[in-house]
């Protein structure tokens, strides 16, 4: 049974203000979370959903304070468990649009199991993961996305951990909408959020987010005017992978190996570039794209890596209930208690 929720149009026309709660926002000055909140509030009127049908669930961490600032239903839960709680919310009432606000520690470390299984089941949730590559609320320990060798309060000699690549993880676990954006690119972030809201299935957005206190400038190379063009490639469906200040660099596929090419070297042209297909149901290319952020000399992709249609857990579950009800008729106490192996004592 397909979930028809996306087709519902709210009778009320909302503005961003309708989605702002009366609670004072208490993130540190300059925190990337402010921008993410602003973009969510700006795009919420476009979700096609009445605000009482929207639920924001979060775990623990700076990012998980998010639901308090949204004037929708909200549940700030416990560390790592947002996906599990959101699953219950959605499964019990599939009419709700359920969002998860979480961080790299909350979702990929303590909540890793819930995350991969929510992806695997393709539950119709939208997960917005704020990745600042640090534990902020506990004041500066390394996280599962911190780069190897990072010096933090809990790794004075540098971490020996390899980080997770969240995009790879989400795709291999089974998410059906996988995207990345930047806190400092409001327009792009708005587009990703709006598109996730329309997706039927597990939608995952990794947002690179600056923590000005404990990991300031972690993504500066991707967000600052001067360096961004060279370090970011924007994924657009049907368009070639081109980047650089003058759009003079491209990426081509040499077998399974991506190669950066110079479009002005006389040997390559735009026709050599890899054309992005976000609906590719073969995960191989998405996986190669996801590796870019780990490869020296490659730009970090933002945009939708992959999206595709797959039956959702909540849709199939309620479909099964409807089917069995049709076959057996709705349950009654009589049917429950008096139909099997009973005997009477007079």
């Amino acid at each position: 049974m397909e979930n028809k929720i996306d087709e519902l149009v709210p009778e009320v026309k909302y503005t961003a203000k309708d989605f702002a709660s009366d609670v004072d926002v208490k993130w540190c000055p300059g925190c990337g979370d402010y921008s993410i909140l602003a973009q969510v509030q700006r795009t919420s009127p476009d979700f096609g959903e009445r605000k009482e049908n929207i639920v924001w669930v979060s775990g623990i961490g700076c990012s998980s304070r998010f639901p308090y600032y949204m004037n929708t239903f909200g549940f700030h839960s416990i560390h790592g468990r947002a996906a599990a709680i959101a699953t219950g919310v959605k499964l019990a009432n599939p009419k709700l649009q359920v969002w998860v606000a979480t961080g790299d520690g909350d979702m990929l470390s303590i909540g890793g199991n819930h995350f991969i299984h929510a992806c695997r089941k393709n539950i119709n949730l939208k997960i917005l993961m704020f990745n600042n590559r640090i534990y902020g609320l506990t004041k500066g320990q390394y996280s599962p996305t911190s780069e190897k060798g990072k010096i933090t309060k809990s790794s004075p000699f540098g971490t020996v951990d390899w980080p997770f690549n969240a995009i790879k993880l989400a795709d291999s676990a089974g998410a059906t909408f996988i995207a990345r954006s930047l806190d400092r690119d409001p327009k792009h972030l708005q587009e990703m959020i709006t598109r996730a809201s329309k997706h039927n299935g597990m939608a995952f957005i990794e947002v690179y987010q600056n923590c000005p206190i404990f990991n300031d400038g972690a993504f500066a190379a991707l967000t600052e005017k001067e360096t961004k063009p060279l370090n970011v490639v924007v994924l657009e469906h049907g368009k070639p992978l081109v980047f650089g200040a003058n759009k003079d660099k491209g990426i081509k596929l040499d077998g399974l190996n991506p190669v950066v090419i110079d479009l002005n070297d006389g040997k390559h042209s735009i026709n050599d570039c890899w054309v992005h297909d976000e609906f590719d149901d073969n995960p191989t290319r998405g996986f190669i794209l996801a590796r870019f952020s780990d490869l020296p000399g490659f730009p970090t992709p933002i945009g939708v890596f992959r999206q595709f249609k797959k039956a959702t857990y909540d849709g199939d579950y309620h479909g099964q209930i409807a089917h069995v009800k049709e076959q057996k008729g709705s349950g009654t106490y009589e049917k429950l208690m008096f139909t099997s192996n009973t005997w009477e004592v007079n």
């Binding site: 049908n53 308090y68 468990r81 599990a84 709680i85 209930i321």
Partner: protein, 613 residues
């Protein structure tokens, strides 16, 4: 040869064999038939944690005990009158429990050198005289089964698997029960495997005929139907009764039932059972782990479902942080803990009552929940409804304690009509006017405002909340107010539960105070002690937090109080600290329930020569 029929009131049989011999199946078939012919009954399966321990080994022995009677009974029986032993190991493990002069039916074909060695027998007990004093009936079960199945197109191995039904056939003959109920059950079970169906049916029939024709059986026994109260009955195990109870609560409350659960022995049957009832709208979410089990239930509760999670001790530990979230957010959720032997993995298939302290105090912070305990397999049905009612009407997490003994044991349930069961009132908040998420009614209960309700958009969470309004608050005085609100809400439940009932004299020398599954053995022990002239009363706690209001008065009426528990004295500790009342602990932690005689002896020991007068 004419066979005599002897009428007996009460019989305990035990089937024992390898864990691959189908003893649980044989036992449950005998149980179903016995239920339908109208005896009162109580069962005790007892099996190892290993699915298939090495064949013939002592550790692989699986047993199923059934006590049936023409009068009212409460326990699966202390000592079997009859043992069916499929191999030497089964004999070795079970012999010590059999009544003196009891009957032992053995499969002599299994008493070969290899099996004897595996069972650590130096000599064959069937030949060395060590079974003198028992009525040993030697049956060539394997050989007879093979002969009966000649001509059926099945492998020797598959035919061998039918010998439990041959044994069952003998037992049906011996206790004068019809074989048709099992024949019919086999038809449904093996609909798609006609050879297997035919083989099992033939083996059953052949076993029955063998009893009838062979000269080694001289006596049949007749156990007349029990004089149970009028009504329609069905046999239920504790786990099955829990499932039925919560579906009933769903019907009574009008809320869909949501179970979030991770498989764990001995609670998995609750998940399995509930997954069958899709046409009742039941959602069973088999979660990725125990934590997700309760968290998904909390999410479903937030969404407006009757939300529950089922587990056993290790899972209860994992759920505790989330249980604290349910306390903090004041959402209704029922945690069913089917207790097993602990700590750690402990004795997964055995029973214990050692999670009481964890249920009461296992969360961080001041985090009271309602704690209930079921007393018998059939009572699991009623206590599940009660747990749901309290959770929903008081917006509070409830822990319902059962245990392995109740979960796997079974007894007849006198099925109530639906209108005889308590109403469950749920009022979702609809009106946005003056709505505050933590504004309480006279019972300290906050409104349940579910997503999808226009104008009620609000935020809840694990951080401390401002009284009434629910916004985050770190104010010192507010924290104390909220701690007390949550405590008062749980204590207020005492206004809605029944008083502690004293069976027997209302005051005197000795009271036995029980909780959970020790009810049955205690009740029978007291009955026996009274017959012998001892004065002793019984009170049973179904409500552990809060206690019934009259508990202190009841305790004050008796000079001595014995608390039998399958732990090292957890309830005793609570009673002593709460009421400064000295109690006599009577503890057993062997993974097995109390025997009636053990409690009876304790009563006699405590009362000494005084008979309690």
């Amino acid at each position: 040869m004419a066979k005599t029929v002897q009428v007996v009131d009460d019989v305990t049989v035990r089937f024992a064999g390898d864990s691959g011999d189908g003893m649980q199946l044989t036992g449950s078939q005998f149980t179903d038939t016995t239920a339908i012919v109208g005896n009162d009954l109580s069962t005790l399966p007892d099996f190892p944690a290993e699915i298939r321990a090495p064949a013939g080994s002592l550790s692989g022995v699986s047993g199923f005990q059934l006590h049936f009677s023409s009068s009212d009974i409460q326990t699966p029986g202390d000592a079997p009158d009859v043992l069916v032993a499929m191999n030497p190991a089964a004999l070795k493990v079970n012999l010590k429990d059999i009544k003196k002069n009891g009957t032992i039916i053995v499969n002599t074909n299994a008493f070969d050198a290899k099996n004897l060695r595996l069972a650590n027998y130096d000599t064959n007990p069937l030949e060395d005289g060590s079974l003198a004093g028992y009525n040993v009936i030697q049956v060539e079960l394997t050989k007879l089964t093979m002969a009966a199945l000649e001509g059926i197109n099945l492998s020797v191995k598959d035919k061998d698997k039918c010998k439990n039904f041959f044994a069952l056939g003998i037992m049906y003959w011996m206790y004068n029960r019809p074989i048709e109920i099992t024949l019919k059950w086999l038809e449904t079970k093996f609909k798609k495997k006609p050879e297997v169906l035919e083989a099992n049916q033939k083996a059953l029939q052949a076993g029955y005929n063998y009893g009838d024709t062979t000269e080694i059986f001289t006596t049949r026994y007749d156990v007349k139907p029990a004089k149970l109260p009028k009504g329609v009955y069905r046999n239920v195990s504790g786990n099955e009764a829990v499932a039925l109870g919560f579906i009933t609560a769903s019907l009574k409350s009008g809320l869909p039932l949501f179970l979030g659960s991770y498989p764990i022995t001995p609670a998995s049957e609750i998940l399995q059972e509930l997954s069958k009832y899709k046409n009742f709208g039941v959602i069973t979410f088999q979660a990725e782990d125990e934590i997700s089990g309760i968290c998904s239930a909390i999410g479903a509760s937030y969404s407006g479902s009757l939300a529950i999670t089922s587990t056993s001790g290790p899972g209860l530990s994992l759920k505790m942080e989330a249980a604290g979230l349910a306390v903090m957010t004041e959402l209704p959720v029922v945690i069913i803990d089917v207790q097993r032997g602990g700590p750690s993995t402990g004795l997964p298939t055995k029973t214990e009552q050692a999670d009481l302290m964890q249920a009461m105090f296992g969360r961080h912070g001041e985090a009271p929940v309602v704690v209930l305990a079921a007393q018998s397999p059939a009572d699991c049905f009623f206590m599940s409804i009660e747990a749901a009612k309290i959770a929903l009407e008081h917006m509070v997490p409830v822990i319902l304690l059962t245990d392995g003994y109740l979960a796997f044991g079974s007894e007849p349930l006198n099925i109530p009509q639906i209108d005889e069961l308590p109403e469950i009132k749920v009022n979702f908040r609809r009106d946005p006017e003056g709505f505050h998420p933590y504004q309480r009614d006279e019972n300290f209960v906050r409104p349940w405002a579910i997503p999808g309700t226009p104008g009620l958009e609000h935020r809840i969470g694990g951080l401390e909340k401002k009284d009434v309004f629910g916004n985050i608050s770190y104010e010192p005085a507010n924290h104390e107010i909220m701690i007390n609100n949550r405590k008062n809400k749980v204590e207020k439940v005492a206004d809605f539960i029944s008083d502690l009932v004293v069976e027997g004299e209302q005051e005197g020398e000795l009271l036995i105070l029980t909780w959970g599954s020790t009810y049955g053995a205690t009740k029978e022990a007291i009955r026996n002690a009274k017959v012998k002239g001892y004065k002793v009363s019984h009170a049973h706690l179904k409500y552990i937090n809060p206690f019934p209001k009259n508990i202190e008065t009841v305790l004050s009426k008796f000079k001595k109080v014995i608390i039998p528990e399958l732990n090292l004295g957890q309830m005793a500790m609570i009673i002593k600290s709460r009421f400064l009342k000295d109690v006599i602990q009577f503890n057993k932690v062997q993974g097995q329930p109390f025997k009636v005689a053990e409690i009876e002896n304790k009563i006699i020991e405590v009362l000494g020569g005084s008979n309690g007068k």
